[in-house]
């Protein structure tokens, strides 16, 4: 599985939100798209599975231009966990996860035994089996997020896109969700792309980072290459340093202080 984003641009009205973004990524990787609010990272994510159609450029999924695919075919390869799940409907968790099978079902087809097995496994992996017959509107934010991840897994995608998966979650749930996601990337050999503005979580969980500002890529590459003092000052206006933390066995970011805009 290879994803290749080539020269993607997008604008709302006449304002460029994403300009000429290109990158490539392969299976088993966790790629973080990092940037401050308004840097175009969510828009870029939406362009990757064609919820938004890029004004220029395109995306190749395993060498095939995605404009030649139907929405359904894209959904068979890309699973998405959007920013927040609306809560005011009493579908059960099982109903929601079952919807992940829709891209593979013919319009009038009923779920088969194999679909049930896939759903069952997706719920096991995300530890949501015990929630199966509970209505979504009675679940906590973390539980709901895990159910939506289970739904994306039930699509059996090769690529998984997550938009701020830890927003609105308590810290313990943030770690739980990201541990789950990184395990999935390793075990299922998925390509995981996470949009986030959280520097520490990105440094800790991502293999590669794409740093964005004002719709453009500022820097892309390995975590230590990208999260330099200069880059973090330039993009986030903070004085911060990345370091290897033995307690977690990976990188972490220490934020030392804010830099007043204008006197870089």
């Amino acid at each position: 599985m290879k994803l290749s984003v080539q020269g993607v641009s997008f604008c709302y009205r006449s304002e460029d939100v994403v300009s000429d973004v290109s990158f490539e990524a392969g299976e088993g990787q966790i790629v973080g798209i990092l940037g401050p609010n308004g840097s175009g990272k969510t828009t870029l994510l939406k362009c990757i599975n064609r919820v938004l159609s890029p004004k220029n450029g395109t995306v190749f999924i395993n060498g095939v231009d995605y404009r030649e695919k139907t929405r359904k075919q894209i959904a068979q390869q890309i699973g998405v966990v959007p920013q927040s799940a609306n809560s005011s409907f009493p579908f059960t968790a099982l109903d929601i996860v079952m919807m992940g099978r829709n891209p593979d079902l013919e319009r009038f087809e009923r779920e088969k035994e194999s679909d049930l097995q896939i759903v069952s496994k997706a719920m096991e992996m995300t530890n949501t089996s015990f929630l199966a017959d509970r209505p979504m509107d009675q679940l906590s934010g973390g539980e709901r997020q895990r159910v939506i991840i289970a739904r994306a897994l039930a699509q059996r995608p090769r690529i998984m896109l997550l938009d701020e998966p830890t927003l609105h979650l308590d810290v313990n749930h943030q770690i739980e969700i990201l541990d789950l996601i990184s395990r999935l990337a390793r075990e299922e050999r998925m390509l995981v792309i996470i949009v986030t503005h959280d520097l520490s979580l990105a440094a800790r969980y991502c293999d590669r980072i794409i740093l964005m500002r004002k719709g453009r890529i500022v820097s892309a590459g390995d975590v230590t290459q990208v999260l330099t003092r200069e880059n973090m000052a330039k993009v986030f206006s903070i004085n911060a340093a990345i370091y290897y933390d033995e307690r977690i066995g990976t990188h972490n970011v220490a934020i030392i202080g804010a830099i007043k805009e204008g006197n870089e």
Binding site: N49, V51, T70, R71, K72, Q73, I74, A75, Q76, G79, V80, P82, A85, N86, S87, S88, F89, P90, F91, T92, L94, D95, I96, M98, M99, G100, N102, P103, L105, R107, F108, E111, E113, L116, V119, S120, M123, E124, S129, F130, A132, D133, D137, A152, Q155
Partner: protein, 346 residues
Amino acid sequence: MDAVDVASLQKRKFARWAAITATMATGLVLTILFTLNIGAVHIPFETILDVLMGGGTRFQREIILNTRLPRIILGALVGGALAVAGAAMQGVFRNPMASPYVLGISSGAAFGASLAIVAGVSWLPGEFAIPSMAFIFCFLTLFLVYAISRTKGGFVQVETLLLAGIAVGAFFNALVSLMKYFAGEQLSAIVFWMMGGLWQAEWMDVVVALPMITVGTMILWLLSRDLNTMMVGEEHALHLGLNVNTVRMIILLAASLVTAAAVSVSGVIGFVGLVVPHVVRLLVGPDHRILIPVSLLGGAIFMVWTDTVARTIILPAELPVGIITAMIGAPFFIYLIISRRRKMGW
């Protein structure tokens, strides 16, 4: 924490759906048999069965087969159609207050119908002249209300939707009044539209309405899985590979078709499309695969009973059934507004 067996949960759900559908279907058959027995002329139950089997006197046959039965069947069709349209609109608008009447769509359809009655304008001849005009205006109105209330993110806000429905409905009501003013001889026909009732029911009405309602309901039922994902959110539906714009347009067309069929044979009957899907949702949950068929049956039962009350409560005269559905529906609507304040959701 034990792992719940997904397959058995699923099997239990389908079994429950089958049981509910069977119960409702039996309820409808019993309702029809029972209400056939109610009316100004008393006919014993055994005689009714006899007439249905082909016996009875000529007079009894006339009353049962040509007066009561077409009216009951038409009532069932109209009630079922309005409930199905309401269920689909509530799903597509992600809004528990949507229904053909509240959104002014029935008024639009009534205007289309009155154009056909008074001005003789239509694009289909004969018996389909009025329903076809009702359909066109139904869809126009629905589209108008939707376009007015839709925000950029595709989300439709309750307040805006209701206000748009009121405004558009008022506009078409004014147009209908205008038509009434110039109607002359056809005045009574238009008044019939606005009052809403089934007292002119004939077999021909059934013949006109049945195919439209069948086709529209089938389409909505076949799209029920899509309706489910759209109810979770348009963006979610897109992520799951659904062509949201196309599917939404088909759903709106199908909902207009069934509404138009109902309105063109019975006039503007309010609140059935609001109340019935709600009660059914409480009973079976939000899944449209079961919500649509059970709403059809529930709407049919509800309408046949309210119409039976309408035609017998002040014998020998009768009330327009729209009055009764409004008297039940309006308080229910108020209840919805209040419970929404407590954020009951749906």
